[in-house]
Amino acid sequence: MSNPSIQRGWKAALLRHETLLLLVVAVEWLYFNSVGPRFGSVDNSFDIIRHSVEIGLLAVVMTPIILTGGIDLSAGSLLGLCAILFGKLWRDAGLSPVMAGVCTLGIGAVAGGLNAVLITGLRLPPLIVTLGTYSLFRGLGEAITRGVDTFTNFPASFLFLGQERWLGVPAQVPLFLLVAGAVWVLVHRMTFGRTFRAVGFAPEGARYAGIPVERRIALAYVLAGTVAALAAIIYTARLGQAKADAGTGYELFAITAVVLGGTSIFGGIGSVHGTLLGVAAIAVLNNGLVHARQPREVAGMLTGLLLVLALSTSALPKLLALLRSHRQTVNPEPIKS
């Protein structure tokens, strides 16, 4: 009934968005390579990757949540809590790093499950629930350590995960690629992704289509909790210590990366590869500015600018759809009032 080239809609827009973002990353890279003599070295590239794996993990699993129209503000706090609990299990409970890691993953899943239960069971908005658990998780971490306890002196075999190379790349990279790949498959090649989008576009519509809306939302949050625990372990291995303030503010970096990557904050539209590009754009910018001898504050400003630009393009298809639906209201009268 109207122009199919406009109607073809969000997929094409997303494609354009991701191409654009790839261009942004490339331009960043070329620019910093020309001003910072050591920027383009292999060592620096690995440094960028090492520093972005934890936020990258949070961002990758934030993507399905935002696709469902939700948000997870508790991710950074949960990372902090899991780091503390990991340290506690290893040092005070005497578990091996592997066993402690497995238990930490379980704790992360339970914490994600708490978010899920509050959101689906009590039908509270995700923003409110995760704002609450944002304080709760951080507060628990501080209570356990009384704000001063720090876990250090991890064995070298554990620190390997965060500081050494494996298969020629930083050791955490294969793990990150595994998680990112799995989530990509979940979102883009399996029915789960389809239902995440359906819930994000129209939660009631999805319910009327027989989709188990609550179970799908729960899956997204439990996945996010588990992977936040993994990020906590990698974080601890990278820095060699676990403190209660670990991962402070990471949730905002993760959300920024997701939105920058073209995922609509209103839900429904978005991709995991877009998120990866968003992480890359932020990571390269932050690292490059150091090499270009610019103050750190500039990085924050430029990230903000990028985000606003990204938001205006990601809101566009939704706005168009909205305008269209208003124009198309042909119902003669709202018969059922």
Binding site: A198, A202, E204, G205, A209, S325, T329, V330
Partner: protein
Amino acid sequence: MSAANAPLLQLSSVAKSFGAVRALRGVSFDLRAGEVHALLGENGAGKSTLIKVITGAHQPDGGTLAMDGGLLEKLSPAAARKLGIACIYQQPALFPDLAVAENIALRLESGGALRKVDWAARRLQAVGLLERIGADISPDAEVRSLSMPEQQLVEIACAIGSGARIVIMDEPTASLTRKEVALLFAVVRDLRSRGVGVVYISHRLEEIFELADRVTVLRDGQSVGTCPVSGMTEAGLIKLMVGREVAQLYPPAEGVAGQVVLALKQLGCAAGGVKNVSLEIRAGEIVGLAGLVGAGRTELARVLFGITPADSGEISLNGRSITVASPQDAVGQGIAYVPEDRRRHGVILEMHIAQNMSMAIHSRIFPAAWLRDGAEARLAQEFIRNLGIKAYGPQAPGGSLSGGNQQKVSLARWLATRPKVLILDEPTQGVDVGAKSEIHKIIRRLAMEGLAVLMISSDLPEVLGMSDRIAVMRGGTITALLPGKSEAHAVMAAALGQNP
């Protein structure tokens, strides 16, 4: 006509179309000062559109509006309010978190945002207005804490306070108890004695006889008659409301109904307002579910589909008692529901029609939860062909289709589940004439293939033309079971709760 003896409000051949749908096709209506003029008509006859024209929410495409003989042009809602036209909707539009006095003040006061607020005067004004309509409501009460009828009374207080000369009431008694109705009627009579013209809309015929001076009947967007209530009978009014030929366009029923597929025994759901529903639907049978808006038809469908699960009674499918606690249960059991609000519930507008069609059968066409684009596209192609869906392909977003084609996509999604029972809720609402008859043919074909069909419709000719049997709902339960070849006025009478 001089202003002195001109009617308070005069509408002459007012027309209004929405796209291809002609909601009003030349309505003439007049309201005198100091009268209660009832407006009557089936669902979809054009009452709401007419109100919106009078309140300035819609601009008519043709015809004229005049007040006291003076032509009203380009009426806006603000201008209408200034002229003294007030409308009290079924759902009061008050601010729930503000006090009654504040709500009244918001409607009546004007002036800049920086003016000084005289709280005492506000309160006094509210007390005075509430007293005048005999409402026992504290001006300090939060509107959230008031019952629906109390909120309506606040609305009326606003209307009186603003010196309204025309008050429109849209089904004001729909949610009131008998005692509250009596209070409301006293207020309406008081308004009348003060020379206010009241347009009164109600489905309850007895109220119209009790309260109104004159009545105008709308049908298919036209006024079919205005007459004094005193000379009318209920039967006469019903005849005016439905008095059209049932077109012979409906596909004929063939074959005989088979085994009972769906049986409901004393089914109820307190939360959904459904009680004591007993009904049987056979294979190959279309049961039309008629009734007025609010009679509980959609609510019954929501119970059968597990959105608001039943809390009493029994559902049997093919003689076996089943539990439907969620839509997933319903789908698993073979109950499909094509919802009424297709833009919100029926189709996800942003998603492709292929994705929409496969949505209820993920586990069947996507083994191991793995997307298979080829299988999905084939499914879509098949339905696009079978149902004659006009779209540029399986990849077309749902929102790009016309209403009729969206409805077919919604239908396809549920046919893909290979259901035993198909519930259709207003299957042709807002659908153009051509698509409507196509959808009717599809429904009949499905029934002939052995499906048990429950068709909710407010379109009386559709119910009469399509149904093998007609169940009429009123007040959350089925009050009458009529044969498919019933007379229109018999169905309408049952829906209105009159004895034919």
